[in-house]
């Protein structure tokens, strides 16, 4: 550690990178399964970003001469009924899953935070009305609500994200509202108000930083659900429209007859989807235990 002249005299704050790596090592030691899950997630992000480089073939190009081939060195996962390379489709499917999962998570979290914070802080009639909307959204079976929204919006990747985020925002907002009501009771909020802070300022500077851990935990525990929901919608034909490769779409009902000839069409996307959901759930659990012990065992 050779550091030049002046810097030696002043004790330096550890660099940002050093602090992050200490945090990561501590997380890995306390939550080994969580850390393993995080590693798999990094791998998944890598696959999604470099899908074009990793996939040996185009995921959407038909090649009727090579349909329903078993896994081989040419086609690692075999081909589907249109002769499309299944490995390339599963790799590109990771991109769709991740894109939808992250998009819905961030969209839902942003809207839920605003809705929950305002509703919880203001209370009164506004809160009452918002909560009845949350009640109604929770009474609807998720798929029924999502399909109903997608009928109006026409299926596309962006609209799937919007529908998932809309439903997610309503249900997450209730948890955030609860956290805000808890914080509102603390004397420092009264103190801020006594000093003349405006409502937006109190929400942004005093409430928001305090509910941040709750928001992060909610985001990490909900992402797996969005990925499954997208796959279910695409499976039923109301999600990402073909030929865009989505894991749910690859397993869709129309392909079932071909799966009897070539079951790999079902097996590989199922493994990919289940692995990602498993890893997301494990990572979310680990993060929850680490950040907010009170929520432990709530799922």
């Amino acid at each position: 550690m050779a550091v030049a002249g002046d810097a030696m005299l002043v004790p330096r704050e550890p660099s940002l990178a050093a602090r992050w790596s200490t945090t990561l090592v501590r997380f890995a030691r306390r939550q080994p399964i969580g850390a393993f899950s995080a590693a798999v997630l990094v791998l998944l992000v890598f696959v999604a970003i470099f899908a074009d480089v990793i996939a040996p073939y185009s995921p959407t190009r038909n090649n009727v001469g090579e349909s329903l081939i078993s896994p081989s060195t040419d086609h690692f996962f075999g081909t589907d009924q249109f002769g499309r390379d299944l490995f390339s489709r599963v790799v590109h499917g990771a991109r769709i899953s991740l894109y939808v999962g992250l998009g819905a998570t961030f969209g839902a979290a942003a809207c839920a935070t605003i809705l929950g914070a305002v509703s919880g802080y203001l209370g009164g009639v506004f809160d009452y009305i918002v909560q009845r909307f949350v009640d109604a959204s929770q009474a609807l079976p998720p798929l029924v609500m999502l399909i109903a929204i997608l009928v109006v919006l026409e299926p596309s990747v962006t609209n799937v994200i919007i529908a998932l985020a809309a439903r997610g925002a309503l249900s997450l907002s209730r948890v955030i509202r609860g956290a805000v009501i808890g914080i509102r009771a603390f004397p420092f909020i009264d103190a801020a108000r006594a000093m003349g802070a405006s409502t937006p300022r109190i929400l942004l500077r005093h409430i928001l930083p305090n509910i941040f851990p709750v928001v992060v935990v909610l985001m990490s525990t909900s992402i797996g659900g969005y990925i499954v929901a997208e796959a279910s919608l695409s499976f039923l034909g109301f999600g990402v429209p073909p030929p865009t490769p989505s894991w749910g779409g690859i397993m869709s009902a129309e392909g079932r007859l071909y799966m009897i000839v070539q079951p790999w069409i079902l097996v590989f996307p199922t493994i990919a989807l289940s692995l990602v959901v498993y890893v997301m759930n494990m990572f979310g659990d680990a993060l929850r235990d680490e950040l907010d012990p009170r929520l432990r065992g709530s799922r």
Binding site: R132, P142, L143, A148, L266, P269, S274
Partner: protein, 316 residues
């Protein structure tokens, strides 16, 4: 207790109103050319004028008017008519709801009993090999989506034994046993994820309760271990499990949409998919309202059952 039930009943009203508002607004959000698409695509609408079709969709009235009309209709048990057959939606639902309810109740019973029983075993034999095994299986059950399992259950037996679970519907008229039997496979698949999440919560809650002083007291009084677990611990551990069950009912109904489609069972879920493909919007509206009401009713029952499980709520 009576006041508690009345208060819960009154709370249903605003939620149901929002539900109806949702389906009424939904129709109005349809893209502008949706009516043209319907008139062009559907041969069955050849004799129908544009104004007539708009009237059938309730688009000839203002939003508040249509909301009031739909609400009053719902109260009378009238959810409008199909735009194609002009058959009442309520009649259609009455024909199809049996399938969904049978499958849903079977899944609920299978999922709840296995989930709770496995949760108790896992908690009592904590950190044993059996506990690790049961927990791993339940996490796997949570991670593999039900449509993948259902497809696999049809595809693999066909490949291996040239046999697959029947995907032809047997009406109840053909005998009650064949009718019930056809729901076993989909109900078990549907109950699987419910069972997994209930198992995890039951285990956590049982471990929590078994640590309490009154359990030690019961044991030191010489109460048999089985009685301690079943009477003293389980009853207290079950309260949050029952409320999770209420939340899961919405997800269970979601699952029936998928499983009815895969196993070709003519319930509400498959009707929903069918009417969406045909763009029969009033049927979609009616099914949405009814599935929401089903969940609301089940949650009402869950809340009332707290009173039975936990005498403290009765006093409040």
């Amino acid at each position: 207790m009576r006041n508690y039930i009345i208060a819960r009943l009154l709370a249903i009203i605003p939620t149901t109103m929002v539900l109806i508002l949702f389906v009424v607004v939904l129709i109005r959000l349809l893209p502008g050319d949706a009516i043209d698409v319907l008139l062009e695509e559907q041969v069955r609408l050849d004799d129908v004028s544009r104004a007539e079709l708009e009237a059938r969709l309730g688009l000839d009235k203002s939003l508040p008017e249509e909301f009031v009309r739909y609400t009053l209709g719902t109260l009378r048990g009238d959810l409008g008519n199909s735009i194609f057959t002009e058959e009442p939606v309520t009649g259609l639902i009455r024909q199809r709801i049996g399938v969904t309810l049978t499958m849903g109740v079977m899944a609920l019973v299978i999922g709840a009993t296995t989930g709770v029983v496995i949760g108790i075993i896992s908690a009592v034999r904590r950190n044993s090999l059996l506990d690790y095994f049961l927990r791993s299986v339940s996490i796997a059950g949570l991670s593999i989506p039900n449509f993948a399992i259902a497809t696999a259950v049809i595809v693999f037996p066909t490949i291996w034994w040239k046999w697959s679970p029947p995907v032809i519907y047997t009406p109840p008229g053909d005998g009650i046993w064949p009718y019930i039997a056809q729901f076993f496979t989909p109900a078990i698949i549907l109950g699987l994820s419910l069972s997994a999440s209930l198992m995890r919560l039951t285990r956590t809650m049982m471990l929590e309760v078994l640590r309490q002083d009154y359990i030690t007291t019961a044991r030191s009084k010489g109460v048999r271990e089985g009685t301690v677990v079943m009477r003293h611990a389980l009853r207290n551990a079950l309260i949050p499990v029952v409320s999770l069950l209420g939340i899961q009912v919405a997800f269970l109904l979601s699952g029936t949409v998928i499983l009815e489609s895969i196993f070709s069972l003519p319930g509400l879920g498959r009707t929903l998919i069918g009417s969406l493909t045909a763009r029969d919007y009033p049927v979609v509206q009616g099914l949405t309202v009814v599935s929401g009401l089903l969940v609301i009713m089940v949650n009402l029952m869950v809340d009332v059952s707290y009173g039975v499980l936990d005498p403290r709520t009765r006093a409040e």
